[in-house]
Amino acid sequence: MTGFLTVLRRELRIALRRKGDALNVLVFFVVVASLFPLGVGPEPNQLRAMAAGVAWIAALLAALLSLARLFAADYADGTLEQMLVAPQPLAAVVLAKICAHWLLTGLPLALVAPLIGLQYGLPADALCVLLVSLLVGTPVLSLLGAAGAALTLGVRGGGALLGLLVLPLFVPVLVFGAGAVTASLIGINPAAHLSLLGAFLAVSLLVGPWASCAALRVALD
């Protein structure tokens, strides 16, 4: 457990020293979300129907943007190697990095998304559902994304390859996440969607760390 806290504290301390990274991801999210009306037109009903999908897809892309750097810096300066050799279980270390990634990207996205929702004319209850769905869904992006980042460590064409590997795995999160908001818009109780999202989070909690550890061991072989 101490390993988890040590790595988490270090990650957050480094992030505080390099505020730019987390901020860039957030700004990227807002920019992508505000491009859609320019492309599709300002017609309110259309925007309201699209809001959930746009918010979620922007969140997916923003998370993807920051995933490539999850292990890259540590891989380059040798600290990742030390983590593999440390007595701490590697899963705890990887989980700490995933938590740090979520705290720095997933959480801010979820908190900002209701603003985007307002911009798109979403009613109040739909905004709450959007916030909750993102809070439950974005950890999955970090968990499965970490596995993708570990698999493409030190591989050329990493960014695009990472997207190709990970985005198909995000389909259920997008379906249930955006579906929850759309359901609440048309009066259906979104509890079913959110619980399925939670179930997928549970699965990713198992699959993500295992795959990331295995992939890191392969990458540093």
Binding site: T152, L161, F200, A215, D221
Partner: protein, 245 residues
């Protein structure tokens, strides 16, 4: 028997065995395909509602079955290679991947070409077709990852991890897309309600599916032999093999 199996696990030992099996599977594939096509075009009656267009299911449904079946096989071989650390299994998963991707591609195209006459649009975002599209992305991801990593041993192990993560997610993706489809369109349009499964149609599809299976094994064995030669490039026996092949 056990030692025989382990002897075969070495690529060099399996190379000639694959060579001997190849013609058999190719012949089987050809024969079954001919039988299937005969049933599809001459034995199957014209469907009351869709007329002749439904004959496409004799290629579409087997291709869809094979695309999923091969992915599971690929993940199985990859996982086996990861656990037992046998190089041959990793090669087998690489040999299967392109054929699986091809069947997914065929399933998508034949699905679209079948959709046009029956529902008026090439792409109806039908639940199964959308999941098939995601499956194609999973195949392409696997092939791209293995292509991007130079060292064969690392490529096999990384590919195995991706395939295992993928095979866990495939049912979830299929379920979520099914759910998504019912939410937006209602269950009016879906391939699952193909015309009533007359026995002869089922026979036609089974024959074509078996033909596709034999074909996949034959192609996988052929590609496996090429991968073995490529990877054992510096081994003496590989050079000898290439000069005589």
């Amino acid at each position: 028997m056990n030692s025989e199996l382990f002897r075969l696990a070495a690529p060099q030992a399996f190379f000639p065995v694959a060579g001997k099996m190849l013609p058999w599977f190719s012949f089987l594939a050809g024969a079954l395909a001919l039988a299937g096509l005969y049933v599809a075009f001459f034995v199957a009656p014209t469907d009351a509602t869709q007329g002749e267009a439904y004959r496409i299911i004799f290629i579409h449904v087997p291709a869809a079955w094979m695309s999923m079946f091969i992915y599971v096989m690929m993940a199985g071989w990859a996982g086996f290679g990861l656990a037992m650390n046998t190089r041959l299994s990793g090669m087998m998963s690489s040999a299967l991947a392109p054929t699986g991707a091809m069947f997914t591609f065929i399933a998508l195209w034949t699905g679209a070409l079948w959709g046009k006459p029956t529902w008026g649009t090439y792409w109806a975002w039908d639940a199964r077709m959308t999941s098939e599209l995601v499956l194609l992305f999973l195949y392409l991801g696997f092939i791209a990852l293995k292509g991007a990593i130079q060292d064969p041993a690392r490529a096999d192990r990384a590919g195995a991890i991706l395939a295992l993560v993928g095979v866990v997610n495939v049912p979830i993706i299929y379920f979520s897309v099914q759910w998504w489809n019912t939410l937006h369109q209602g269950a009016s349009v879906s391939l699952t309600r193909a015309p009533s499964m007359a026995a002869v149609m089922l026979l036609g599809m089974l024959l074509m599916a078996l033909a596709a299976w034999m074909y996949s094994i034959a192609v996988a064995l052929a590609r496996l032999r090429r991968i073995i030669l490529e990877r054992e490039r510096d081994a003496e026996w590989a050079k000898l093999q290439r000069s005589t092949a």
